[in-house]
Symmetry: C2
DNA sequence: GCACAGGTCTTGACAGTGTCAAGTTGAAGG
DNA sequence: CCTTCAACTTGACACTGTCAAGACCTGTGC
């Protein structure tokens, strides 16, 4: 199955090999030739399926945003608790580091790829769902962004990023989810 | 002055050329040879001064953390307001995008470079200064991290990152500092 | 004045990279 | 069985980081 000329699902195999490689040394160090070697195919096979390196990374980012949206939706559906969505955000970043790192590195991607845009929109929607509607401004019209949602998003995204780049003390790194909840206890989001 | 064999301060010139290049296409796309060309020297000159590519990026990150610490210290010293420190954090990220991006990409750096470590510690100290002491735990001993400081740090860092990766709506991008203050109005950090 | 020492920078080479054009293989449909 | 066409390979190109060797300049000791 794996050593046939027509691989069956080489595209999938390449993505998996790439995710593995990214997990070891980050998305910017990814080498198409190394991915090809890992999958046991010729050095130009990846380019055939994804166009170029950015194409492969874009496919990974899109798949990542889809899984991400799944995780966030599931958290909200099962708990109805916005804090749990935040916890899911951080959990996803830690458990799927390779995907997460790729997703938020737009300079490596084809930003306007339709698959990527669709999956990204799904994630965004899933995240904001629990934040509630923004309060209307002084003129009675709703503002063009939701400060509560943006604040919560910034908080969890910053927490995940700083955690993954090794900026937090040991006690946080040991149990990041507990630390996040501890932090949340010390803050209030004001809706009105 | 510039076309002498002994450049005078090539090291400085290379850093500046590199910062320029990073500003155009990010730290992971940096090419030593392109930097050399920009500075008008031979292709191997950068390696002579910085050892390797990671060495150049490390020098930039260290300089960045020093400037960053300056900015944060100045904000606290002149206002005594923790929120202003947060605003300075975001302002620095936006005004010094090339430095900021490099600073938080440890996989591209020599993480244990003494200059980098010193400058990083300075920044960390400057940031936490306004957060106050953490409250003691149930056993009376102070916890090994400060939830309020970590929360604020996560918030501003996430805000800056998401802003710079183009994840925010136009209204936020137009005046990020105002948006940050708006967000802060909707949250409370609880010290006790 | 002058040799010499040592840091500064250059030159040339090497293996590895992404990408492209051309070729080869094999499976599927008439 | 033969054609068609996508899947994949092969070979080449320009570019990359790094290293060893050399050329060049400047300061120091005499």
């Amino acid at each position: 199955m794996t050593d046939r000329y027509h691989h069956g699902d080489l595209r999938r195999a390449l993505v998996e090999a790439a995710v593995e490689a990214i997990g070891e040394s980050g998305p910017s160090a990814l080498s198409l030739r190394a991915v090809a070697k890992r999958a046991g195919v010729s050095h130009a096979a990846p380019a055939h399926h994804f166009g170029d390196k950015a194409g492969l990374l874009t496919a990974i980012a899109a798949e990542g945003f889809d899984r991400f949206a799944d995780a966030l939706e599931r958290a909200w559906d099962t708990t109805g608790d916005f804090l749990q969505v935040g916890a899911a955000y951080v959990r996803f970043a830690i458990d799927n580091q390779a995907y997460f790192e790729t997703m938020f590195r737009p300079e490596l991607l084809h930003k306007s790829d339709p698959d990527l845009e669709r999956a990204e929109a799904r994630s965004r929607a899933a995240l904001v769902r629990g934040a509630g509607e923004p309060e209307p401004g002084p003129d009675g019209k709703p503002p063009d962004y939701n400060p509560t949602a943006l604040g919560a998003w910034s908080l969890v995204h910053g927490f995940a990023s700083l955690h993954m780049t090794g900026n937090f003390p040991q006690a946080v790194t040991d149990d990041p989810e507990a630390a996040l909840k501890d932090i949340a206890k010390h803050m209030r989001f004001i809706q009105g």
